[in-house]
Symmetry: C2
Subunit: 315 residues, 2 copies
Amino acid sequence: MRIGLDMMGGDFAPAEAVKGVKLYLDAVASDAHLVLIGDESQLAPLLADAQLDQSKYSVVHSSQVIGMDEHPTRALKEKPHSSISIGFHLLKNEKIDAFISAGNTGAMMVGTFYSIKAIDGVQRPTISTLVPRENGSQGLLLDVGINADCKPENLVQFAILGSLYSKHILKIDNPKVGLLNIGEEEGKGNLLAQATYPLLKENKLINFIGNIEGRDLFSGKADVMVCEGFTGNIVLKLAESFYDISVRRNIQDDYLKQFDSESYGGTPVLGVSKPVIIGHGISKGLAFQNMILLAQQMIESKLLEEIKESFHSNS
Amino acid sequence: MRIGLDMMGGDFAPAEAVKGVKLYLDAVASDAHLVLIGDESQLAPLLADAQLDQSKYSVVHSSQVIGMDEHPTRALKEKPHSSISIGFHLLKNEKIDAFISAGNTGAMMVGTFYSIKAIDGVQRPTISTLVPRENGSQGLLLDVGINADCKPENLVQFAILGSLYSKHILKIDNPKVGLLNIGEEEGKGNLLAQATYPLLKENKLINFIGNIEGRDLFSGKADVMVCEGFTGNIVLKLAESFYDISVRRNIQDDYLKQFDSESYGGTPVLGVSKPVIIGHGISKGLAFQNMILLAQQMIESKLLEEIKESFHSNS
């Protein structure tokens, strides 16, 4: 198992990426080999300091970096020697089994779609966010931003992808699917939600429990919460801002602490043929460790296989 | 000035409504006369206990109550002697200048549209919520639920209505208008947001500052935050749930306390010809007091007049 990691992505790269590698190698007994993609001259002293087991990783040099604010398509085209471009090249050519970056999100999305393909039958790959719940478990909200306008069929596919992710990675049996809406009863909501409800209800691949409202997001009422990416992205950033407010106001609370993006690391792109994980730009060591762990879990689990089966028999 | 109050609406009626009346009359020096609509036999002992100045109010008897879960249109038709039906009858016939209820929200909306009209030129009346900001000021988010599907022109009208409300009631000069979206630059967002941006930009009646994201809701970046009612309602209920979580977890924080719906009372229906204020079902005395105060401010201010002028010259 070879996991590729962009060492140059994110606001605190490469130092925090190296910290994440160390945390992972120290804590996790795994046969994973890490492929660290980045500027050799910057990485060498950091890796030496970290005193890592040299059999556990190798470095692939990249001479360019895609900045956080660069135009995704243009940057990928103009910077073939960037860590992100090289990462996708390695992934496409099966030199690595998963690719992780906390760099330019747009470039990660474009790179994903151009280098590896959507799984047959998946109309729109999606990204999600973990939602900490008061009962200690984790829910999943999707889409959170790459599909701003959706058709009902897209939301049904998100429900299937999210259910399989919950089952295989979050270890939730028969996860409950809720449609994020503005009322509880069938028939409530905007035109999209009204049209999506009956499709979710009749779908045999998921355990649909009905509509959930904004107040139910953290209650555990549903494990997989489905919406288009416009609402999902606003909800995600709003929840993150609540965490930021709690930090600024020095509120000490174990539950609110779980909203720290460090604790969940990154989001996988669901519906594509290989594991791609996109981290927050502010990722630090713990987030990188968690992303590497997630990549390992996604490779070891039957998640991708089951997604392929579900959409094959359904398409 | 005569302000009508439904004494039978809300989970804690009529006792908390009476408390609100007492709080208002004790605290506010006003020539407002309150018209209390409710069951006389239930109200009489409560009003006697409260020891109110009898010149300041009168009671209009209602023999029926519309329950919180009743079907709005059916209930209004079948219960002409309910406090909500009588309230709208009085408002329509100019026996009261404003009507307030914490009862069935749907019945309040239907009653508003049937008994008093939308202001000429207003395509869709709207409801909003106050947003407490960390800097101590209050923002306004609209629509928060009655217009789940919108056209770009509707959002522009919400921006105008919200700006006038901010100016006249919240006393914010030249309020900044932001479009709730999933990116900062023009061109970002779903089709609705993309089409709305240029219309807001060219509109002379508002001070448009561009897109705002979910994380900007509490930052004060914009005073008036515009979106369709689907996203707005989910954001509103999500924010309320954060407050509920902080209460359950016994988090003591002055800023989070402002999210208590009691502190802002109710939401006016904007874009209709007379002040109608809808309260939360869980309203207690303080919320009722604040709603009566808001009704007074809306009658005294030039808000409705200016809305009529803006839409007249614009329609």
